[in-house]
Amino acid sequence: MILGVDVASLLLGGVAAGMVLFIVSVGLSITMGLMGFVNLAHGGFAMLGGYAVAHAMKAWGLGFVPALAFGFLLTAAASAVLERLLYARLYRAAELDQVLFTIGLVFVMIAALTMRFGPENQPLPLPSALQGQIDLGITRYRTYSIVLIAVGAAIALGLWLGVERTRMGAQIRAAVDNRRMAESLGIDIDRLFTLTFAFGSGMAALGGGLGAEFLGLDPQYALKYLVYFLIVVAVGGLGRVTGVFFAALLIGVLDFALKKYLPQGGTLFIYALTILLLLWRPQGLFGAKA
């Protein structure tokens, strides 16, 4: 019975962390799959969103949920502008230029946030309804983790339905699988991409706000967790919503368990596993063969 409780709390904590990873990374996966653009600034959008949420709550007294909506909209709008003005120029550029451009963008974001808010961690207080613990029958667990799991599952389901059942989702899938063919069928890739990019950055912002409780929120956020977001995308496969979902849960649970039982070498294990996996399947666990 004790073991069961342990496993349950391990799974709940890991899945909650995995949901945040999923919400942040899903946009990155789709945009990388669509345009092959190496966007190292994606973590920066998550950070920007987190800051927007924290600021809206502190300065304007907005509630948690309206603040999250504000963060989503602001980041989506900002990223759409950046995409049209700057990213679009580099779609056919060499990988190195994309890497440099997005690293530069991350530096600008970090410096701007440090100037405006200082280098310290921004507190993001949860509403009292989400604090404390909840009785699940077999075990008591933190309410917020349960809420994260529910929200993440709802978002995953919504995205899955959106990609599988809507016209735009079909266009995205077509473009990920064969961009030229999709273009010659009259799909406006540029418009599709701007929308997807803005939506994906908005999702990252949502993840930044939702995950600030355990990931923290300081100007180094954008670089600190970038490797994790990239690992999730690479393991899940480019442009695959379901792939990212399972990869995020897998890595969330693994990371949570390893941090608990193997606090010293846990990260080492994840890196090694990622390398082995990518050597075995360069297209990721769920990606289509290139």
Partner: protein, 329 residues
């Protein structure tokens, strides 16, 4: 030279030494006599140039886009550091050779498997390999000093005579300059050789190089190994000159910095690392201490501008403005 193939003549012409190529070395020697109080900074610049030259070989010539080049710098630095700290080996020149050999082994081993991939997968794999090494160095506390690193490394005098004095780093400066010169001469010869030309061919069009029968994977692994060895030598000098090694030698910061330096100077051009390292280090040295945030903002904007408008860095701009068609390459 009658009868020689025109292509061979053109290659030989490009290989020819130009008078301007003496300039960096004269400036470096001039710095030694003109600014005896700034030799520590000078040594740091020379080591950074060497590191950037190694990356230029892999990225600029062979087109291997890596985010994890600091893995080799760190491998070299930790080789020197651990051998010295645990009383196994103190002699600097052979220590440096060992650093290069260990880094080359890491480069060969990882290159053998990583270089089969391209694009995002390659980027991720190089990044993860470096993170793996960093994490391993962090964990193996007994040997590597963990998070604190190893300091006060006992390094024997160079050639048995010249002490590495941390306060008056004259030996370090000339030593780093000499090693940089030798490594650079090697890289210069290499990139103008048929081997180097085939690397450029692979960068420009790998399928076509396959089609003409070039052993593409083998060439890439050899190039990656050589590049790793030079990066390891750079790391080895860094550890010897500072009598110190820490996790920062293996980190993403260092890997990103050297990438930025190469992009700033111009990649795939022999002298890009020189221009980039001097420009970056001078700016970083004077600005980052006074206005760290503004420095990061400026650096970020600079990178965005380079990526969007100046794809070949400072040398690329100079070449576009100057009368000659392509400087250095």
């Amino acid at each position: 030279m009658t009868g020689a193939h025109p292509a061979a003549l053109a290659l030989a012409r490009r290989h020819r030494l130009r008078p301007g190529e003496a300039l960096p070395w004269l400036l470096a020697l001039g710095w030694f006599f003109a600014f005896p109080r700034h030799l520590g900074f000078g040594t740091e610049v020379l080591i950074t140039i060497l590191f950037a030259v190694s990356l230029d070989l892999a990225l600029g010539y062979a087109g291997i886009v890596t985010l994890g080049h600091a893995a080799f710098f760190g491998a070299g630095a930790y080789t020197v550091g651990m051998l010295a700290k645990h009383g196994i080996w103190h002699e600097p020149l052979t220590g440096l050779a060992l650093a290069g050999a260990v880094a080359a082994a890491v480069g060969f081993g990882s290159g053998l498997v990583l270089l089969r991939t391209r694009g995002l997968t390659l980027l991720m794999l190089t990044l993860c390999t470096m993170a793996l090494l960093e994490e391993a160095a962090n964990l193996a506390h007994a040997w590597t000093g963990g998070f604190d690193g190893l300091d006060s490394l006992p390094i024997a005098p160079l050639l048995g005579r010249f002490e590495f004095n941390p306060l008056i780093p004259r030996t370090q400066y000339l030593y780093a300059l000499a090693v940089l010169f030798l490594c650079f001469a090697f890289v210069r010869t290499l990139v103008y050789s048929p081997f180097g030309q085939s690397l450029t061919g692979i960068r420009e069009n790998a399928p076509r190089m396959h089609a003409v029968g070039a052993p593409v994977p083998r060439r890439l692994v050899v190039c990656y190994t050589l590049s790793a060895a030079i990066a390891g030598i750079a790391g080895g000098i860094w550890a010897q000159a500072n009598a110190y090694v820490n996790l920062g030698t293996l980190g993403l910061d260092r890997a990103a910095t050297v990438l930025i330096i190469l992009a700033l100077g111009g990649h795939g051009r022999l002298y890009g690392p020189f221009v980039g390292a001097v420009a970056y280090m001078a700016l970083a040295h004077y600005l980052s201490k006074i206005y760290p945030t503004a420095w990061q903002l400026g650096l970020g904007l600079l990178l965005v501008v380079i990526a969007l408008f100046a794809k070949n860095g400072i040398l690329g701009i100079a070449a576009a403005l100057g009368p000659r068609r392509r400087a250095g390459a």
